[in-house]
Symmetry: C2
Subunit: 410 residues, 2 copies
Amino acid sequence: MKDFFNVTPLDTVFSHIPLFSRAGTESIDILSAVGRVLAEDMTSPEDVPGFARATMDGYAVAAASTFGASEANPAYLSLNSLVAMGEAPDAEITSGAAIRISTGGMLPNGADSVVMLEYAAEIDAVTLEVYKSAAPGSHVITRGEDVRKGQQVLSAGTRLRPQEIGLLAALGIARVPVVKKPVVAIISTGDEIVAIDKIPGPAQVRDINSYTLSSQVTAGGGTALNFGIVKDNYDTLAAVCRQALEKTDMVMLSGGSSMGVRDLTIDVLNSLPHAEILVHGIPISPGKPTILARAGGKPVWGLPGHAASAMVVFDRVVRPFMAHVAGMAAVHSDPDYRAVATLSRNIASAQGRTDFIRVRLQKTDSGLVAEPVLGKSGLIHTMVQAHGLVEIDANTEGLEKGAPVSVILL
Amino acid sequence: MKDFFNVTPLDTVFSHIPLFSRAGTESIDILSAVGRVLAEDMTSPEDVPGFARATMDGYAVAAASTFGASEANPAYLSLNSLVAMGEAPDAEITSGAAIRISTGGMLPNGADSVVMLEYAAEIDAVTLEVYKSAAPGSHVITRGEDVRKGQQVLSAGTRLRPQEIGLLAALGIARVPVVKKPVVAIISTGDEIVAIDKIPGPAQVRDINSYTLSSQVTAGGGTALNFGIVKDNYDTLAAVCRQALEKTDMVMLSGGSSMGVRDLTIDVLNSLPHAEILVHGIPISPGKPTILARAGGKPVWGLPGHAASAMVVFDRVVRPFMAHVAGMAAVHSDPDYRAVATLSRNIASAQGRTDFIRVRLQKTDSGLVAEPVLGKSGLIHTMVQAHGLVEIDANTEGLEKGAPVSVILL
């Protein structure tokens, strides 16, 4: 097959990521911050916990008072009143004394460990029998054991999971600086495309890409801004692109993979202010006719028109760029988690390009089986049937039935 | 170690899932529907595409006109005008004729295949030379090849991914019936807990669980409704629980793992209208003191107070219940995707319970390595350091350094 243009290797494509600007920052309530990206390093203003706490129900003691205790030879301690939850104990533990304490309670002065309920018995109101020697520090979280004052606890570029939100809560940080969600312009092009609420005439098809790409942007933590369907006309497309570039952090056109229209897209991207075409074709299938331009620090993409192709390119190529714009640190080098499966039949692959094969996963007694989904890349139902993609690299001619494969989950 | 209560095996816990009511339904714009759960089966109202389309730039032909063509012995066809995108071709292809067509264009009547550009040359304005025999149907998507009219395309209980949204767009379905996001009440209990905007006094700690659990609910596709911090007092807690039960689809209390307070939680749950305690302790660590009640068709949970324990219980136990309330079909039997890694050191585990060990993943040349995170389960920083959990089942005493492990990603 003839190559219509020189393609850019994927490593080179990804090397452009640092060229692009990040979205701005804002301060938000931590209750709304899950999934957002931290804009600044965070340092702890205090020790957490601020006091030594019991991690079990039992008796706070000085461990030394129990040394040598056993079932045969118990230690006898004088029992004081209970430590109430949320109150500093007024009693002090002296050698030979014990005080009842609940999980989370504050250890009284002089206590350094907790004897669990099952290793002790209250003989009478003032006497505790202990059957086991307690090690100093046992069943206790010491002051600052979770977080020390002044410690850097989170770094800029971290995507906040529920546990990071919990850590911020523990530190009393109720609002947090995050990178704004990137706003992504979505433009569908093509004289044959009609809005989804229209009945397509002969030769017309409904706009799928505005919906798949918007959903991918949303699911990936961005905000999609739809600019609708634009005809294959230079002036109209150039005007919409300029407007999109002004209002958003990244622009995605899709459609126009056919020869004449691709030239139109290139001309329009070249006409944008401070524009430079960085990528014009990539060695992957589906997705070869992908274009990347840089216009004033913002990425502008020309994606294939086929819905499945555009989705694969978004997932495998565009996503790390969007993550960069969203402020994520070093996302492209993060472990790329994949499911492990066995291939159900041979698949062929051309050398010199990376193939992404749609697969459906089935759970069997011997693990997951990946069944390739048949059908042309223009068919949206092939993506609906697929659970994921198997990547076949450029140096592999194909994979045999029974081969272990790692599956990129969609 | 003595058991303070009889625990319920996990299989039994999960067998209760179908007892609970699902959230209501609503109709929403498909642009907002990614991640939502379909409430009804969907059937295609039409064929997609509605006409035969080219999948390549080239020439629409009747394949029979090219049979036997080769470089040495080309076929000569009469060339007609271009098929414009989005318009029904007015020409009809007769035997021996060809017409230029772009990817996505509508095949004229009489044409059944497309000859790719590289296998043909325009000799003059009206003559096409073809170097290769075209198979009938090549480079063509036929009418209804993607979706047939009347075909069931999606089933109730499906979580909508970008490709499902695209399929709905292709069918002209702009609004879709989905199950409402489950509203989950979150209540933190404990006399020692203070709001995060307060400076904790001696023996007091800030409320972490309201934030971690809310974030887990949000990230899992629910809506968290916070009822704040409630003291360990029967009347107050019972009143807040009743209010929460009225306003939401599921209630989660956390805190109060210590003996006396757990009894208080049980008493409060038993006092709720039509309440039944289903689970009182589960054989997992962390997370043993977990309580599940059913009150009027809604799940009410008593989760451990330690932040890390409550998070693990939410992820491993509560989540499938929430997915059921959210309308998801058979979620608990879905493949549970895990990352594959090698353990960096021995870990011990008690038989008779399932241990969830927090691990940090590191990418190495020989794959991912899982490094257990040390630290007591009461420490939130252990969850921040962890990328995931390694599950050690009840019949395994421990795992050795170098063992392959599958990691549940957090």
